[in-house]
Symmetry: C4
Subunit: 258 residues, 4 copies
């Protein structure tokens, strides 16, 4: 007989001493908006890994990289203090868990660790799908408290008024609230058809104001320009074919109509 | 390593002293019939929250309200004695659990708490889908004992004779019976296409007789009139287009044919 | 916090003293072949209930009967000695569990109880779907040992040579074998379109020989005649419409082609 | 009440003394490429069974063989030293688990056992689906370390550069890496439409070089020729009908486009 695996296996590398830290989370979702933004933060602020999360609820597979090496999906928590007086945790993962329980357990584990390290506010980065291409994507927002809602509004976010935010990028702020922290979700407007660096850039620019931390997004701008070329091609092809665009899957959704 | 979360996390706010209490449950389902009715009871009798239920089997998401604030799905149990000699528990939730096990566990937790507080009879409010619009919706019924069946008939319910009642609004009376209580389900006739306050009103009027408790349903009447306008528009549009209505998803279903 | 429910909750009513007992199982599946046959055995031999099985992996619902009463799905084990020197356990349920784990756990619980009571051989009754109507349905068979295969052949069964038997009616003999017992499955040929009492009757006639127990199937014959009328109507309608029959879901299936 | 079954039940028959052992795994997947190859190794090297794995996450069914006997799905680990100085474990199963957790738990159990017996390198055999028939199938590869990638390249594998490998044949090397071992996956090019012994043969020929072990694949060659006849027929039929081939399900998949 073998023992049942825990749903989440947390490997702590370091419990960092922090100064006024926030937690920012971006996992793969529509348009990879949150994932691209989180990866950009890790790279540009040279954050160090402080914890890893394995789970039997991740998709049972390995992902292959350009050099032929393969890894199972994993969650990773990073930390550094990019400027004096502002610590920054970033959580990202290669995939979202495949079950509701997996998503709750992973959210709980990350929020618990962050809370222990002094985090009071949790931000998630996600996509707001419109199905159409926008050259200057808006940023939508939702918060778990009136203070968070005000803070997002001041930063320039268009507040959501109904609907839901599905998956880890939504759930993480819900679990944060259940554990006594505050949470907010920033959603970049995107078509849902392509990996959208422009939406990631827009989301990070608003985050920059809200957490008072300068973020250099020039690398994302370069990626966004490449995407823009793809979009232009797609639009040209669609016009030629006289096709209407298919409806993309959505990370955010409007409320029940009635 | 992190510990596995319990399927249901119950937070008791108060174990109320009760007088002859019943438990009424209405969760989101077809047409929101049960949910609207349960919310109406909580509001109109000014019930106070006595317990909260979180669960990793709820859908992994947050729901956004009009003021931009976001919450994860949660179950809530309310109590008060609306009149002398009649205590009233109401259980509702933002969503139904996503797994069979989650539905059973949540039903068990709520029934156990209610039983401990002296509840002997459990009523659930649900939808009976017909696929057509009715101006004076009937109320169908089923009970876990002959006494409950008689009581519903006296109140004016049309008894179901076969089929099943799916989800928490069905299961809760089954679990009640397994734990030695009596249960009955009241199902309001509805098309299944719109949020149907008229069906909720019909269900509450019958409940009012069965549990001997006056219920003011005038607010639901106002909502029902708004819905009626939407229905009239839908019918006009359908006539113009010559369309036949699609078959809605059903909370109740007929028996196996053979 | 509430404790996690066990996957199977077994309530033992009686541990019967047995003489040379066999276990026969029939759960709802294609054409209700196994379920009808198991119910017939319980009724005609006036078996008494010796154990009940609840499970959060059963479908979360209640089923309504003709008198308006509603019950959650449940498994039931019955016993009696229909003739001197031959004990008979019959296991049936209102539904099959909704998860693989639920099916394994329920199979384990029933097999364990039966083994403790002296059972050495487990028979399951199921459907063999052909998609066409047959007036004299054949009975197919498969066994977990060469002895069981020989015994079925002697009884007149056509042995399966490949494919699989899905669900509890297949799994139960697999689990029996894993626990040191012998198992055999008898599958009645059926179209898969209707509840098929003729297939149930054919299966019981073969079982009668194999376990050396006279079984009066006249009541099933009456049901089968009613079904035959329905079939005749269906065929007439299909001929008029020039339709080809849809492919039914299958409890048994052929092997991988290659 | 009955106890919850463990996800994996491991029955150790023998803990073999090994010399420089490797573990090779092939489970049922697209085209049965990995399963055929693993079965071939067990047979041709006359390996002995050292452990069995049952699990309630395997599909709930029994599989019937030519002689009419039926078995539930099971995992099996074999061992022998085909030549001096090279021990060989082979793991295969009748089916893949039905849940992510089941796949992780089974992978963990097998990798743990193999590691305890001295295994440092784990190889999985899988299919690389192209949707078209190839007379001389290529072998693709991916590894969990640069050393493994180099080793596969030297053996003649075309390295994958993106995408994922789904299911146990992918996950097993990921879990191996998580537990401190090295892993590599060899994927035989196949159409995905038929059981493909030619792809299995190609995979084993490359494995032979990489683990320095002569493997006689003549029996697979005979099977491959039979398959080739089936393919020729399929192609003739498709040409007649003017049909384009349907898209097969894929064990390997390309990366996210963007």
């Amino acid at each position: 007989m073998t023992e049942r695996l825990p749903v989440i296996l947390e490997r702590v590398i370091e419990v960092p001493k922090t100064t006024n830290p926030v937690l920012v989370c971006g996992l793969p979702g529509s348009g990879y908006v949150g994932k691209l933004a989180a990866d950009h933060l890790v790279e540009s602020f040279n954050l160090r890994k402080v914890a890893e999360y394995d789970s039997p609820t991740f998709p049972p597979q390995v992902n292959v990289k350009e050099d032929g090496t393969a890894d199972p999906p994993r969650g990773e928590l990073y930390y550094a203090a990019p400027r004096k007086g502002r610590g920054l945790f970033v959580f990202t993962a290669d995939a979202q868990p495949t079950t509701s329980e997996g998503e709750y357990e992973l959210s709980e584990a990350v929020v618990k660790f962050a809370k222990k390290c002094g985090v009071r506010r949790v931000y998630t980065l996600a996509a707001y799908i419109t199905g159409t291409f926008s050259k200057s994507p808006r940023v939508f927002g939702a918060g778990t408290s009136k203070e968070m809602v005000s803070s997002l509004k001041e930063g320039g976010a268009t507040m959501m008024k109904d609907g839901g935010i599905s998956g880890m990028n939504g759930l993480l702020i819900g679990v944060a609230a259940l554990r006594g922290l505050e949470g907010a979700c920033l959603l970049g407007e995107t078509s849902g058809y392509v990996v959208d660096a422009a939406a990631s850039k827009a989301v990070l620019e608003l985050l920059s104001k809200v957490v008072d931390l300068p973020i250099d997004t020039s690398k994302l701008e370069a990626k966004a320009e490449e995407t823009q070329k793809v979009i232009t091609q797609l639009q040209a092809m669609a016009e030629q074919a006289g096709e209407t665009a298919p409806r993309p899957a959505r990370e955010s959704r409007p409320g029940y109509i009635g």
